[in-house]
Amino acid sequence: MAKADMLGESLWDAYSNKVTTLMNNPQHQGEIFEADAESRGNKLIVADFGAESCGDAVRLYWEIDPATDKIIDSKFKSFGCGTAIASSDVMTELCIGKTVQEAVKITNIDVEMALRDDPETPAVPPQKMHCSVMAYDVIKKAAGLYLGVDAESFEEEIIVCECARVSLNTLKEVIKLNDLKTVEEITDYTKAGGFCKSCIKPGGHEAMDYYLVDILADTRKEMDEEKMKAAADAQAMGGGKFEEMTLVQQIKAVDAIIDENVRQFLIMDGGDMEIIDIKKADPYIDIYIRYLGACSGCASSATGTLYAIESTLKEKLSDKIRVLPI
């Protein structure tokens, strides 16, 4: 928050002049009829995307020359706000003259860029970016209908943030490489979640298949597992650092040392011990133990035996260890 945020800006003030102009006077609005297309020897494709109940819907008409797969003419109908109408109009224009295979490469980013007055200033406010996404989806649908394939086959990757077109793989990679811990950091690094915000968590304007909060949690979990595995591997190789182990790994390591070096002597005297807990107490690592059997009443359990256990653990695992009998 800052002075500039004290008084919210009107959504419409953040529209580019192109958006405003096309909203008032779209150039490619209308329909193409099958009979007309046929009379010219062309094929008509009509694709719908969205629904009124979602707040946005678009119908795209393509007249295609079957000999060249070229889109000869294109028109649209759109139920939606100013951004949706302007995006549909520009999307339609971008399609004309391209082959179907070329048109399918048009993205919502291309549509939004084409709506800018200057290359540096977004054409619409962040929360309106989703309105340009439909343009991308309906093109895929139309191409799928023409080519007789599933529209999703044009999607090579799973896109999580439709507005910024950031894929699942990219997000996972960026989280791991940069050790990202919050959704805000993800947005800073990738722009994902920075626009309509539907992909951040459930409950946004549009339901999504993937959400940043889940991807972050899952990836962090994967990272932790990888770290633990690495620690366990290092321990098995004898190179693991006690301080960096998880609690479970620490307990296992302490148990292993006790089993190997201490327990046999205690048992010989009719006693034993168990590990109760391990706690960080900077700069120490405190290991709480309980003596069992004969050890629990033995006078040296607080002196000689304790010293033997502690010094063994210090030597084998870490100088920072303190052993505290309960």
């Binding site: 707040g55 139920f79 100013g82 109408i85 929360q127």
Partner: protein
């Protein structure tokens, strides 16, 4: 021609109100709590404004009406103080309210839920009205407060406040009503209707922005939100906003004198506008006219998205409002629209037109004409209104709007 039909959001300050306020900015500017004449000279005008306010809602002399900065403050005050008095320092932990309240109630309730208060959000019927028997069935012996708005800002629908008040009285539960859309628009008689607390705000009835009030029955207990001096009997500290209090008193007087006659005039214009707009095919309005504030229309226009319609109306210099998610900052569809709308359609196609006593017949004629042109243009673009069916593959995407409780 410029036409303002967003009077449920805010209203023009009546020139007579401005005139009443003016001397108290630069002539009689003393602090009314001062002992000297500069301050005490404001007392007669303040007393007059207090009398005007009591009279406008027929409050008794035993009741308190405290001046606040707005109804949002009044609503916060009631809810947060009930929490302090009855949840933190008492044995009750439950508040009953509705899904369609103003954000100043809903957001405060969400905040109180985080503090451990249990809140029931009652649904409305297809008319957008909260039914009294529904309120009754959710009151328990742990209920501290029922808060139900008198009339809806979105639909204008009037809730059965008298019946709900009786139920609360019978059950021994405090009753608060957000009267923002009722005071100055319909008769509000607190000798006829039982309420413990009533919030109102001057800018909804041609008074200035930044001043409101809270009616508190028979000096009912309520911890103050604003601690400080002894202003308003210690109930709400801070130097009195003299010009605005005087402005609100005047605005209330103007709004409530001959209210039945004024209502009838506004209603006649509203009904004429509504009838004309309903001549358009595939349109519907929400709620029975007889049970609506006389200035409000919420109309759904098939195939025309709310923000698109606002855009076209704005191009014609007409100010209206929509609950369409696309026109809001957070893209969340309006909760009121969702609570009453069939198939989410209303949430995306609803346009609210709210008139005032300053709306003229010529303005209504202009709006009818411009509105019809806008609908024709936007339906010409509309895919959901397109006549030709897609040749193939035209299945419609499934979509669910999330409705938060």
């Amino acid at each position: 021609m410029q036409v303002y039909l967003d009077n449920n959001a805010t209203t023009m300050c009546d020139p007579k109100v401005v005139e009443a306020m003016l001397p108290f900015f630069s002539e009689q500017y003393g602090n009314p709590n001062s002992l000297h004449k500069f301050g005490s000279s404001t007392h007669p005008a303040l007393m007059n404004a207090i009398n005007q306010t009591y009279k406008a809602i027929n409050a008794s002399d035993n009741d308190d009406i405290v001046f606040t900065s707005c109804a949002t403050e009044s609503n916060n005050w009631v809810l947060q103080s009930v929490w302090i008095d009855h949840v933190l320092n008492g044995d009750k932990n439950h508040i009953v309210t509705t899904e369609v309240e103003h954000p100043s109630i809903l957001s405060t309730c969400k905040f109180l839920e985080e503090q451990g208060v249990k809140v029931t959000y009652l649904p409305v019927n297809e008319e957008g009205v909260v039914e009294a028997h529904t309120v009754k069935s959710f009151i328990t012996d742990k209920t501290a407060l029922v808060s139900v708005m008198w009339a809806s800002n979105e639909t204008g629908m009037i809730n059965p406040i008298k019946e709900i008040g009786e139920i609360c009285k019978e059950k021994g539960v405090l009753f608060h009503t957000d009267g923002v859309q009722a005071v100055g628009k319909i008769p509000v008689d607190l000798q006829d209707v039982h309420v413990d607390f009533l919030s109102f705000s001057a800018h909804k009835f041609h008074g200035p922005k930044g001043i409101g009030g809270l009616y508190i029955k028979d000096s009912q207990e309520l911890s103050p939100l604003m601690h400080g001096g002894e202003q308003m009997g210690g109930r709400r500290s801070g130097t009195l906003n003299v010009p605005y209090i005087i402005g609100m008193g005047k605005a209330l007087e103007l709004a409530t004198e001959n209210i039945e006659e004024t209502m009838a005039k506004i209603r006649a214009k509203r009904d004429r506008l509504e009838d004309a707009l309903l001549e358009l095919s595939d349109t519907f309005t929400v709620g029975n006219r007889d049970n609506r504030t006389p200035n409000t229309i919420l109309i759904s226009i098939k195939g025309v998205e709310g923000e698109g319609m606002l855009w076209d109306l704005n191009n014609g210099e007409i100010g209206a409002s929509t609950g369409s998610a696309c026109a809001s900052e957070d893209l969340e569809a309006n909760t009121v629209m969702l609570a009453i709308g069939a198939d989410n359609e209303l949430a995306h196609t609803g346009i609210r037109l709210s008139l005032s006593r300053f709306t003229t017949d010529a303005e209504v004629d202009y709006v009818i004409s411009h509105f019809k042109n806008a609908v024709a243009r936007l339906r010409g673009i509309s895919s959901s209104f397109a006549k030709q069916a897609p040749t193939k593959g035209g299945e419609v995407q499934e979509c669910e709007l999330h409705h938060h409780h």
